[in-house]
Symmetry: C3
Subunit: 282 residues, 3 copies
């Protein structure tokens, strides 16, 4: 499992605590993007790493993303939310991430969103440069459709496609995204694996119906907890999801690990699917 919910405005101290808590739980991968926290979170994380000392880096995997330009006071040169997957931008962004994170390599760099102006050969060149210089070990993409994935995978080796998937957002299961990855034996990373904000705070009929179903199942499975049920649901898909956990609450992080060993009954899996989609299977 991976941790990464960078909307929160943590101090380096508090982040250092959270990192240690995660490592203690065996959650050793941390998911970043240059733009998280309006281009600020990587830097705070880097300070936290610095506080924790150099030995901690070898125990963790750092993931980050590049390719989105965000309109924010921290980037006054950006006039419109846009993408940049040029060679120069990818390399500069990765190098800035290294500096912010206070590390000399990234375990994984992702193109954050499919850019209609992407030249696949140019991205491949940037990746090769970053790999050969030892700055990035592996590469992937995020939020790519199957044809976008194929376009880039034809030019360079991709280890993942990080996409949204949860019981309230099941497109990936049916639109070919997971089919493609399963065929290619590539495991997706999953952002919003529980659909947290929507699941816990939403009010639509779909959410209410799903909460009802999940609460009933949680009771059935020894009160394991709703988020554990939903994570186990995701982990049961044969594509082999790597969920990116969002919670910052130590207790919930601890409980999340329970999902790794929870096998839902097949019919219970479909009860959740039906509740999330609002109709039974065909």
């Amino acid at each position: 499992m991976t941790w990464g919910e960078w909307g929160v405005d943590y101090s380096a101290n508090k982040m250092a605590d959270l990192i240690q808590h995660c490592l203690g739980l065996g959650i050793t991968t941390f998911d970043h993007a240059d733009i998280y926290g309006h281009y600020s979170t990587e830097e705070t994380f880097g300070e936290a790493l610095n506080q924790l000392g150099t030995s901690v880096r070898a125990q963790m995997q750092l993931v980050t993303k590049c390719g989105i330009n965000l309109k924010t006071h921290r980037r006054p040169d950006i006039r419109v939310k846009s993408y940049d997957s040029s060679r120069a931008h990818i390399i500069a962004s990765a190098e800035r991430s290294l500096k912010n994170l206070q590390t000399d390599y990234l375990d994984l760099l992702l193109i954050h969103r499919p850019d209609p102006l992407m030249h696949p050969a140019e991205v491949a060149e940037a990746f090769q440069h970053l790999k050969e210089s030892g700055k990035v070990r592996h590469f992937g993409v995020s939020n790519f459709t199957p044809s976008q994935f194929e376009l880039l995978a034809d030019c360079t080796s991709l280890v993942t496609n990080q996409v949204e998937c949860n019981a309230l957002h099941t497109d990936c299961l049916f639109d070919g995204t997971f089919d493609q990855l399963l065929t290619a034996d590539i495991r997706p990373m999953i952002w919003s694996p529980i659909g947290g904000a929507k699941y816990f705070n939403g009010e639509g009929t779909a959410v209410l119906r799903l909460r009802d179903a999940v609460q009933t199942l949680s009771a059935k499975y020894d009160d394991v907890g709703e988020d554990v049920i939903l994570l186990a649901w995701l982990l049961q898909h044969p594509v082999g999801c790597h969920p990116v956990l969002g919670t910052t609450k130590p207790k919930r992080l601890e409980k999340a690990r329970l999902a790794l060993n929870l096998q839902l009954d097949r019919q219970d899996w479909f009860i959740i699917l039906e509740a999330g989609r609002g109709h039974e299977v065909a």
Copy 2:
């Protein structure tokens, strides 16, 4: 052509008559699924076969399907309509179909619906086991999208994808389903090849417009009959459809064969397409 309309509640006697009528017409393939008649039809068909004597089996091809779990009083253990494409379920379902149908082999076994929890390698294993034991000769799927088909075809040999197609339901012609099969030289089986209930009893403008067009064409082609026109329309597609006929009326079964030799004028084909879709081609 194939026969299979198992909603009807036939006695074994009456089914034996129907089988003999079909065989006499050269309709030798019978399309089943474990769930038809709420898990009852295979058994009645098996009794009918038993009445007809052992020699009849060699003159026919038996198709059945597995993978759906239906909520019904005959399966009190099923709490939710759901899928199961596990190795154990596929093998057990095929073996139960053999017992119900009173035969020692199936000509073709299909996965009835695409199961998001399908492990393609596991399905391939189940198929191999059934093939090596002589219980099933060929394998296929039903209602699969192109990416779902490709996922499984990558692991095992599939001889068909049984899908819905008729002049009121033309998605397969345009969404890549037939393109994929034509490229791979695989012929689809077609369920609802006429769109019978909707075509004959529907009331929407599309249906009325289509009926009007088909009646005019039937008159043009020597009063061959509306269902013959619609079957000929389907058979004219280069993908090479195997329609699964639904009617139990001897006269209509006899007439259906006429479609095999009826070549519609190309413009007449597009008159039907336009009437069914409600707009001319682009």
Copy 3:
């Protein structure tokens, strides 16, 4: 760049002037279809070519299309708008185009629309016949989806897919059409590359928003002109578009060439995309 807007009812004289004007500008490819001008434009163009003398043919590339049957008083045998991609129709249509255009070869022949009755092997045969007889040099398609393209490309060599693309019609950028062509290193021809009638005369909010954005950018880029901005926007896509210009106004044809050397700032490209689609990128 290519010229082809054949709705206009030009005399052969006037067309000869336009052809010479285009050639003078380096616009040497002319885009036809059998059906343009209700099956009349090729003939007028042929008369214009005849007036200009035989030497002009070698300086130009002639593209035409076949496969649509149009209801028009000039084709009383056509009862319904329909397609015909039979071997006989393709060959007869190409030969009629040669005669109409008063030339002995076509540089490029396209199947105008995807025909659900298309037998890919039969199309391939027709293409081979036309190639071997020296009548057509290259082949392609128009308005094909990725799976339709793949179906035919599996049987014969295709050099392009001519599709609609402009800032008001961006499907190709996101539905896999351009991804497929970029992967295969095939350059699309683009019809309606500016979205002219809609862009200049439309009234919806999308059009007004886009016009506003394009006018601002035109001012920024030395008042180069709105159509030049929009063409440059299209040309910047890595797939390598060949736009088919529609204007018959000499001044606008001259200006269009400016787009070939105009590099838009990447953010300006996204300003146009956002204005055309009505929402920022994800």
